[in-house]
């Protein structure tokens, strides 16, 4: 039993949430991202597709400044969240990451209990005053990640004991527990089997009601299934960006067409 049945994509797309202008990323001497400008909408699933090494994950990690942890990475240009430049000197990346959550390629729950995994974010951000509030937040997050019914009787068992798909949904629950505004997902289904993948995809579709979701994926079918907007990256360039239907049915650029028809990548 799932918490919610799959809803139709009836949510209207929102305003511009993230706006990137002329973003350049260098890893040492390597120019990894070249002149990327893109507007990502609120309450929309945006998919980044492209061949391996095209820079889509790198660009995703710029949006919550995870690249700061890589000493040789250098970023130029402007990325704004709700009009505020996230690379401004006054911005604390820790505060930014509370607003822009992230789910990684490989499920990486903390080696703690399921409860503690979800409660960790709210705890460190001081979102609750007492245990009852925290219990509520944990339940809400787990329901939001469509995991509550499966784990409600074993909240205090280790999160690493769950199956791969459950672990990834636990990571999503952990990310949504801090009530972010944007959710970044870096190939969230690449380590999952088809059934777990469809569960996570269903979940992504529901998350769109509340968040702006950006998903990096290798699978074009997945991009077509879950996203409303698609961006195609190639060799560090943003080649084409538009409505998913348009990208897959009438691509403007020959490289996009070559990629989606399987000739490159």
């Amino acid at each position: 039993m799932y918490d919610m049945n799959r809803v139709e994509n009836a949510v209207s797309q929102g305003d511009i949430k993230i706006s990137a202008n002329d973003v350049q990323v260098y890893y040492g001497d390597k120019h990894a991202i070249k002149d990327v400008s893109v507007d990502i909408l609120d309450k929309t699933v945006t998919a980044f597709i492209g061949p391996s090494g095209c820079g889509k994950s790198t660009f995703l990690r710029c949006i919550n400044r995870m690249n700061d942890t890589i000493p040789i990475a250098r970023i130029e240009g402007r990325i704004a969240l709700d009009g505020e430049d996230i690379y401004d000197r006054r911005v604390d990346p820790v505060q930014l990451r509370a607003k822009v959550g992230m789910v990684f390629q490989k499920p990486n729950p903390f080696p703690k209990s399921i409860y503690d995994n979800v409660a960790y974010g709210p705890r460190i951000h001081g979102m609750t005053r007492n245990r009852a509030d925290l219990d509520q937040i944990v339940e809400k997050a787990l329901r939001g990640a469509a995991l509550w019914n499966e784990v409600k009787d074993r909240l205090h068992e280790p999160g690493t004991g769950l199956s791969g798909g459950q672990q990834q949904r636990l990571c999503i629950a952990r990310a949504v527990a801090t009530e972010p505004e944007v959710l970044l997902m870096d190939e969230p289904c690449s380590a999952l089997d088809p059934i777990a993948t469809s569960q996570v995809e269903e979940l992504i579709d529901q998350l769109r009601e509340k968040y702006s979701v950006v998903i990096v994926t290798h699978s074009m079918q997945q991009a077509a299934r879950v996203s409303q907007k698609t961006a195609f990256f190639h060799l560090g360039h943003l080649v084409e960006y538009g409505d998913t239907d348009d990208i897959f049915t009438k691509p403007q650029d020959s490289r996009t067409e070559a990629y989606i028809s399987g000739r490159i990548g």
């Binding site: 820790v94 992230m102 789910v103 990486n108 729950p109 903390f110 080696p111 974010g121 951000h125």
Partner: protein, 451 residues
């Protein structure tokens, strides 16, 4: 075993190779594997044999230190000798030397021999009283000073037997060796045997070995490792309090926070180099820095502890860094991804996961420090120490010995009874090390988590 079944005869047809016949290449590879297994098993066998021989020798030589022969006799505490003023004033009584107690004891031994009707063929008084240790008078004096009311009474005491007599019952001294020994004679040993047969002389477990201080060359039977154990414990305390926080702190900073540039590279190389510096060099450093420059007292556990801290730091830093490196980066990403600060990600997630490795490395470093001798020789820990150090923290500045130094010290002495003591001290040291390693294994199991 993945070896193929070997056919008996090599009647392989040239046309088509059969799976039933191992070809030359396979045979060669299988033989190589067999040889390699043999080498490995031989290496293990040699290592085990060496270990068994080592343990056997030490236990054979050292187990005697844990058993000691005592002579149980009644002693008349003569008031005229022990308290000449007759006022039981402890200060006045303290002026009576062990010499006077010696006389009282000598008389008691003789009386006991006479009472038991033992034939004493040609033994002088001196030889009879020579059956008991020179330490015995100090033993009785101690007891009397602690309780002056005993004076004038007849008390039963277990006095230490002489080291040669003790050695005779442990098989170290024989009639033949006694004949060539000017310190003892076969007649004395026969008398001792008589006393033993009558139950006056008993050999039992020697707690005093674990609690007594060192004793002079003349009385190996009284020597113990008490001060050495205390000194070693004090030094471990210093090392634990200094090396662990400094070492773990330095590793966390270097591994998680420090920028990667040429300075951190230089520091890293130098830490590895420090681990390879001979320990005696640390001793000279300690002598120069802590005693000559900082003016700390010689022979003090604080100085020993500081020197051992310097020695242990590289070990702790290297193992802690290895443990931190082994934590998967995905855990750090996960913590940062939910908005934890760098420090929160390290202290909430990375450090708990690295804990088993850190603890193991730390305990191995401590065990290494516990067994270290060379640097301690240079800072005067080899001195003869008769008084127990006070309780910490003051006691850290009092002179003390250390277990490995005590072993070194005893092996330098001429009386073979000290070889037994030295081996006994090695057994104590090994038991300590064994317990520390057990603790390391236990902590490792306790903190280990799978992910």
């Amino acid at each position: 075993m993945t070896d193929m079944p070997m056919p008996r005869s090599g009647t392989a047809s040239a046309a088509k190779s059969s799976l039933m016949v191992a070809d030359a290449n396979t045979r060669r590879r299988n033989a190589a594997e067999k040889r390699f297994r043999l080498y490995g098993a031989t290496a293990i066998g040699v290592a085990l044999l060496a270990l068994v021989v080592l343990l056997f020798t030490i236990v054979r030589d050292g187990s005697g230190a844990f058993r000691q022969t005592y002579l149980a006799i009644p002693v008349q505490l003569n008031a005229e000798v022990l308290d000449p003023k007759g006022n039981r004033n402890p200060e006045e009584m303290a002026k009576v030397l062990t010499l006077s107690y010696g006389k009282v004891l000598d008389a008691a031994v003789e009386a006991a021999v006479v009472r038991e009707n033992i034939q004493i063929q040609g033994l002088t008084e001196k030889q009879i009283s020579g059956l008991i240790s020179k330490e015995a008078s100090a033993q009785v004096r101690h007891r009397v000073l602690a309780n002056p009311d005993l004076i004038g009474q007849m008390i039963d005491v277990d006095v230490l037997a002489n080291g040669r007599v003790d050695g005779f019952f442990k098989g170290r001294v024989s009639m033949e060796s006694a004949a060539n020994d000017k310190n003892t004679s076969p007649e004395q040993l026969m008398l001792a045997q008589e006393l033993r047969d009558r139950g006056l002389m008993v050999t039992r477990f020697n707690w005093n070995f674990l609690t007594n201080p060192d004793a002079s060359d003349q009385r190996p039977e009284a020597a113990g490792v008490g001060i050495a154990i205390l000194g070693s414990l004090y030094m471990m305390l210093v090392v634990l309090l200094l090396a662990v926080p400094i070492g773990v702190g330095a590793s966390i900073y270097l591994e998680e926070f420090a920028p990667k540039n040429k300075w951190t590279d230089i520091i890293e190389v130098n830490i590895s180099n420090l681990a390879a510096v001979p320990s005696i060099v640390f001793g000279i450093l300690g002598l120069a820095a802590f005693i000559n420059f900082a003016g700390l007292p010689q022979s003090a556990p604080i100085v020993g502890g500081l020197v051992l801290t310097l020695m242990t730091l590289p070990t702790i830093i290297i193992s802690t860094r290895a443990a931190l490196k082994a934590v998967p980066p995905s855990i750090r990403d996960a913590a940062l991804g939910v908005g934890a600060s760098k420090m929160q990600s390290v202290f909430h997630h990375v450090l708990p996961l690295a804990m088993p490795g850190i603890l193991t490395g730390t305990i191995i470093g401590l065990a290494q420090a516990l067994g270290e001798t060379a640097p301690l020789l240079l800072i005067g820990m080899v001195a003869f120490v008769k008084n127990y150090p006070a309780a910490p923290p003051e006691g850290l500045f009092d002179p003390a010995s250390a277990l490995p130094v005590q072993v070194y010290n005893w092996t330098q002495r001429s009386d073979p009874a000290f070889i037994e003591r030295a081996s006994g001290a090695i057994i104590v040291l090994l038991i300590f090390l064994f317990c520390m390693n057990l603790l390391a294994i236990y902590l490792r199991r306790k903190f280990e988590r799978r992910w």
